[in-house]
Symmetry: C2
Subunit: 139 residues, 2 copies
């Protein structure tokens, strides 16, 4: 059998590790009743001006499609975690805004997530994290 390059090996191993990692994150966040994807949505909204973003930008920042965003936000709107706002300049757009409830839920979830992150990456130095982050930016 042909030699497997380091690049191939890495992508394959990385896929399995990442899948397992995301399952652990989901378990960690399930205590607050949310999924990792919902957490990511709240995170990006929380960090935006007026806690508000366009749906397509939100989709891009978490790596899913626009239709995925529509489906994800439907229950979050019902639970008043996010609100729909119109853009007066462009009637095609509908902006998403994190409500007060959503902001509090985000802060609460962040406690567990911060703990998890710290623990999970405890064997990586901050310098290593930054180096790896930089490398991933380049791909």
């Amino acid at each position: 059998m042909n030699k497997i390059s380091p690049q191939i090996k890495f992508l394959i191993e990385h896929a399995a590790i990442t899948t397992k990692l995301h399952k652990q994150i989901d378990i960690c966040l399930s205590y607050q009743g949310i999924s990792f994807t919902e957490f990511l949505i709240m995170h990006h909204l929380y960090g935006s001006p007026q806690h508000m973003m366009r749906r397509t930008d939100l989709a891009d920042s978490i790596g899913i499609t626009a239709s995925g965003v529509t489906r994800l936000l439907a229950p979050m709107e019902k639970n008043r975690i996010v609100d729909k706002e119109r853009n007066p300049r462009d009637a095609r757009q509908s902006l998403v805004k994190l409500t007060q409830t959503g902001q509090q839920l985000y802060r609460d979830s962040m406690v567990g997530f911060a703990d998890f992150s710290k623990n999970k990456l405890k064997s990586w130095t901050v310098k290593e994290i930054e180096t790896v982050a930089q490398l991933f930016q380049e791909i």
Copy 2:
């Protein structure tokens, strides 16, 4: 707003990058009519003695559940990419074996995947790849 630790930032950014990466891999492999998960299954079978593995080990090596393996393998058995074999020592187990057809399909898919991997990680040195791989092993 509270300070976001490097660990938190990394996990969030890494999630988005990984999601996009896996979609690109799926597109790359779709020319051979297979998904990344199917490729991973073939990869692990190909590298095993007699191209054969237990279903639970297969599940663990790619990071999905046993029931996920059952569902994934069903169409692959129908297409004669893998075969079901019994373990004479333990009637509970059913082993999965990569057929000749499956081996050829794997080698064919590997051409495109190798190209993709090389191109995708072209800005990483081999040393960097190995360092990052090592770090991911530790989490």
